[in-house]
């Protein structure tokens, strides 16, 4: 439900770095989302098309790289993945003595930009 503010953040970060790099246009944006971050890709895409209009990022494609939520079982040392982002006991030994290894990532990894290079153009 908070995807609008999240999408605004993505736009602000992408624009800031695009301007710093002297970009004329941003074509692609790569975002990493851990399975435990409660973000819905489709909603971000929906807001994106509305709020990126008229910016350097107009028409830029959003790419979401989903990182699985990895759990480590302290009872049997087994490492496993949470399929739906819901906590489950260790599938090997049923222990709940677990620790989260990864899955909470939520960052803008990179952007692909175009820029004018007048020196090299005829």
């Amino acid at each position: 439900m908070h995807e609008l503010s999240v999408t605004e953040n993505i736009l602000a970060i992408a624009e800031k770095h695009a301007r710093k790099a002297g970009a004329t246009r941003v074509t692609d944006i790569h975002i990493v989302i851990g399975q435990l971050s409660s973000i819905v890709d489709d909603s971000v895409q929906f807001y994106w098309d509305m709020i990126s209009e008229g910016t350097l990022c107009t028409g830029a494609k959003l790419h979401f790289s989903r990182k699985p939520a990895q759990m480590h079982c302290r009872a049997c040392q087994h490492t496993f993945t949470l399929i739906r982002g819901e906590l489950i006991p260790c599938p090997e030994c049923s222990s709940m003595d677990l620790r989260i290894v990864s899955g909470e990532e939520f960052f803008l990894d990179s952007i692909e930009i175009e820029r004018d290079q007048p020196d090299q153009e005829p």
């Binding site: 908070h2 953040n9 770095h17 975002i31 409660s38 906590l87 620790r99 960052f107 692909e112 175009e114």
Partner: protein, 223 residues
Amino acid sequence: MSPERVTIVEKIMDANDQIAALNRARFDRAGVFAVNLMASPGAGKTTLILETIHRLAPRLRIGVIEGDTAPVTIDADKVTAAGMPAVQINTGGDCHLDGMMMSRGMDQLPLESLDLVIVENVGNLICPAAFNLGTHANVLIASIPEGDDKPYKYPNIYRGLQALIVSKTDLLPYIQFNMDYFLKGVEALNPGLVHFPVAALRGDGMDAWIQWLQEQVAAKKKA
């Protein structure tokens, strides 16, 4: 024209985190301990706040920031009636408070003359977890009627907590709630998290929670 990849690696919540850090610094300067109280709707946030004020009021000056999705002042009115300054923040339908709303709420409180600020976040188990406010402690109220599976279904909100209140324990005889199962889920998500079982209206367990809160306030005053 040449397409080119620019590596960024910037946390998407970074802007909010920075505002939250400023809020935190303001609380620190004023010597105020601030708590962000989160829960689902109906878990007993307002009741717990009122009972907490009732017990601490003679000794501590407490300010309350009420987050609501609509301009409904029911909760803020109750706090004001209890004799403490309350600020109502209408999120305009948003599902959570964020650092900026928090900052505006702080502007309206006499921070210098307070010891404790309690923030009542919007009733929601998903969104508030993603937005730091700059408070010193995130506290979740999980009520017995919500069921013992909530840590398993909403793992995110349990991750950033400094304390957990298990409310409405007086309903345990009437509801299927496996406390052991519930706490095992909590432990996996947030090892060593302190928790307080309470029945706020009856007063059960309130002393331990009040004791914890007073210790936090005292530590902040000394710092």
